[in-house]
Symmetry: C2
Subunit: 515 residues, 2 copies
């Protein structure tokens, strides 16, 4: 029997807005949540709301370290929620490091405060000039180092492949190839497998966006989608607006297409600065704007909805298409999937790019573009450059999505990534020199570190490699070699003793590179 | 018992250069041939040589229509060949329409001469100017019509998917995905799966080319390989030499890259004219030359080895890279795979592009480039545009190649295509207006038709569509809309009553479009 600490009885659970489905008792494995397309929970489920409420009480000091939470049975009874919902909420809080389970005693508010590095506060301040690109060897070095298994992959762009349901995908693949219509190699040609495009359109619909199947073009991963969108709306010599820092793939794409980069100040939490963007639009008259609105790479910034709405309005005023790279949107830690800027688009100017590579099927190379009014141009650019995407991989992803289980997988994936981010951040606080700041993204699997001015991440990159560690040094995320004191850390891999030792080594090396 | 006609005894079989392996009797299912990598016959096998000898005797009139061939047993004994070799040779001759089998009576020289359209004789004569491209809607129309199953696919670019070992490929795919290393999504990244690149290098070796595994970059089909090669050696505004007529994909690629096209006269049997090429190199100083040396699309021309050697020498003199599109090379009807021009390259200037899409696995999108001295640039362009090729499809093709059976499949495929070409050509002779000429390619699955001057293939294209037939009209193969009286016919699909009726309709419509 659990003894209930008196303080725990005083927890003020705010009201939950959803009405629990208390009329029909749910089996323990199935939380009482609204249904999503495959019979799983929507974002913003009851258990997440409960967890958020408790987290808020902890942050507000209503619940203090060492306090015991109500037992699952008590909380279930007092809230009118199924026990499984309460279990899920507690599990989530445990994953976030806010509560701990003690065997046979129940759940307690974590007794020590987590020590995290301070967050970077200021937006970047790139020069207000266009830059002709010459992406350094460094980017290719960093990409090559990601292929070396013996390195601790802190510089990798990919989460651990062990996080994905590869055996279930294999079953889907085996099932579809053995009954594959020989003519699918023709039928599934660009714009792609009709069933898969419909599934993608359905997911848009669930997230509140109306995107017609006909608008969707299946691509070899999001990188191809982004490149095709860029090609569709620019000509060599044009200017394109990007964030600062920005995904190096955008820099490489701009260079390949002979475009000039306009880097615009970007805030580490809220993304690109709209005032600065407005001035850049006025001054440089760019052909396109390429942004990551959700969990930007490398910052992890998440643009608030109001800002997204304003962004779309601003770009529409200048008739500038937005290439929206949204490959991390599904990897949110909050209640619901963050809205893409495309949701606010009424002009067909937002070209939204997504992928299954980061959230379901690494190595399958299935991405897509929903390019608004440019859908035909994008499909044609695809036909003339790589013709089409492999029919078996398209069919396998479709089979997996139709079978159901994607949302369950995503929930597990998000929890794993959230937990890892926290563990990595605490290790960075332990090992890095004082003055190191780290972002706290609300999704994705990157941390962006700002070290003291004078710290040299390029030297750190070289030293780290010689110690068997890869990192992504700041300058690869900039058209003009900025962010020399910054680096990106991948926290999407297992955190074990080797990882901890690698972060300790990095912290030590960082001190050595300070000038 | 077979009665042997007296004339059959007089057949003069010329000596065969290979020494038959008469010391060890072979089982009937295994012809006595040199071994290839997977234990199958090399090109230029004994049975093909025997078949060629007999074909020559028929063409020379030594064997006349109605003559009976020696029985398999007699031929086997007299030639010192295994019965299975003689069987194979007779089967091949039957497939070519040169002999017919009569039940219980043996093989006879086909009693009626096949009526084929005359071949085009003259090389094309494009204007000696560079052309800025604006590829017409027409190409996309023709591509879109290839996706409509209800049309008779005479305009399609693909052979029938039923010609390929899809069930065996499915087994390979199912086997590999279920044991796929999760890290393969990282390991198999560009330049690609090491085992697959080794298999491709081995096939080069068997065909007499030394191409190192490190030079090979796996791509999403040959079209991506060609585009990456083009990007690696050109800048917008540069001139590129192409054949006339040329594969419309080359025109589209040039347009996408902002390049100017120099069309050079091309002979329907022997490919690009070297004198004209030399003049164009001198005058236009192009950045690259994009050619199909083996079974060119659309002409089917096959450049003789001496000409290839001279081509490579000429381009080396001007330091101009050759982008060699060799996707049809494996589909030869003769004794051996035609040599790529790359075999004569000593400067690393030949960028050879191949694919499994046309000879093994349509829809799997596995191609490659062997780009000589530009291998690093091509790999980098791949990394920055589409990142990599799907790991499962790479692994499936590797598994299939390692299991063996590819060469057996290829022999069946070649025989089927050879037979279809002959059947289509005879039907065209029956149905098309007098004056229609048709190429007789020694490989591939296209026929190029030259109709009387004044015939309008664009009108024919529109009329044909309204009759449920797709064709590829001549002007889509030209930068300046030439070849209006020409069209390309795909003979890689089943020939049945519907096909025959479609060709009859086309012939009738062609008469209507004459001016």
């Amino acid at each position: 029997m659990h003894r209930v600490a008196h303080r725990a009885d005083t927890i003020q659970f705010p009201e939950i807005s959803h009405t629990p489905n208390s009329g029909s008792p749910m089996p323990p494995s199935k939380p009482d949540t609204p249904q999503r397309n495959d019979g799983e929970a929507t974002p913003g489920t009851l258990y997440e709301t409960l967890a958020d409420d408790i987290a808020h009480s902890i942050q507000a000091g209503t619940l203090r370290p060492g306090d015991r939470l109500p037992s699952v049975r008590q909380a279930s009874a007092s809230r009118g929620l199924s026990p499984s919902t309460v279990f899920q909420a507690y599990y989530l809080l445990e994953a976030r490091g806010l509560i701990i389970a003690r065997q046979r005693s129940g759940y307690f508010v974590a007794s020590t405060r987590r020590v995290l590095p301070p967050e970077p506060e200021a937006a970047s301040q790139p020069a207000d000039e266009s830059t002709t690109l010459n992406v350094s060897e460094l980017v290719f070095d960093v990409l090559a180092s990601a292929k070396q298994r013996e390195l601790v992959p802190l510089g990798s762009a990919f989460p651990s492949p062990l996080l994905f349901p590869l055996p279930r995908l294999a079953k889907s693949m085996a099932a579809v190839v053995q009954q594959l219509d020989p003519w699918s190699s023709v039928d599934d040609m660009t714009p792609g497998n009709a069933g898969l495009r419909r599934q993608i359109a359905l997911r848009y619909l669930i997230d509140g966006l109306t995107v017609h199947t006909d608008e969707i073009v299946i691509t070899n991963g999001a990188l191809e989608a982004l490149n095709l969108c860029l090609a569709a709306v620019t000509r060599p010599g044009d200017a394109v607006i990007i964030e600062s820092p920005t995904f190096y793939g955008a820099l490489q794409a701009l260079e390949r297409h002979g475009l000039r980069a306009i880097e615009v100040p970007t805030h580490p939490r809220e993304g690109i600065e709209l005032d600065a963007l407005a001035r850049a639009l006025e001054r440089h008259r760019p052909s396109a704007c390429w942004l990551m609105t959700n969990f930007q790479n490398p910052l992890g910034s998440l643009m608030p909805d109001d800002k997204k709405r304003e962004l779309v309005r601003l770009l529409a005023r200048f008739e500038v298409p937005l290439i929206e790279d949204d490959v991390y949107g599904e990897l949110y830690f909050g209640n619901k999937r963050p809205t893409p800027a495309k949701a606010f688009d009424t002009q067909g100017l937002v070209m939204h790019c997504g992928s299954f590579s980061k959230c379901l099927a690494p190595g399958y190379r299935i991405g897509w573009a929903a390019p608004g009014r440019f859908a035909r141009e994008v499909a044609r650019a695809k036909l003339t450059s790589t013709l089409t995407v492999a029919a078996p991989t398209q069919a396998a992803i479709l089979h997996y999505l139709e079978k159901g289980g994607y949302d369950r997988h995503l929930r597990q994936l998000r929890q794993a990534l959230m937990q890892r981010q926290d563990t990595f951040a605490q290790a960075i606080a332990r090992h890095f020199p004082p003055g190191t700041r780290a972002t706290r993204p609300a999704g994705g699997y990157f941390l962006w570190l700002e070290m003291s001015a004078g710290t040299d991440s390029l030297a750190l990159h070289r030293y780290a490699l010689s110690h068997g560690i890869s990192i992504a040094p700041g300058p690869i995320f900039s058209a003009h070699g900025g962010f020399r004191h910054c680096l990106r850390i991948n926290c999407g891999h297992d955190f074990d003793d080797r990882t901890d030792a690698a972060l300790a080594t990095l912290g030590r090396l960082a001190r050595l590179t300070m000038q």
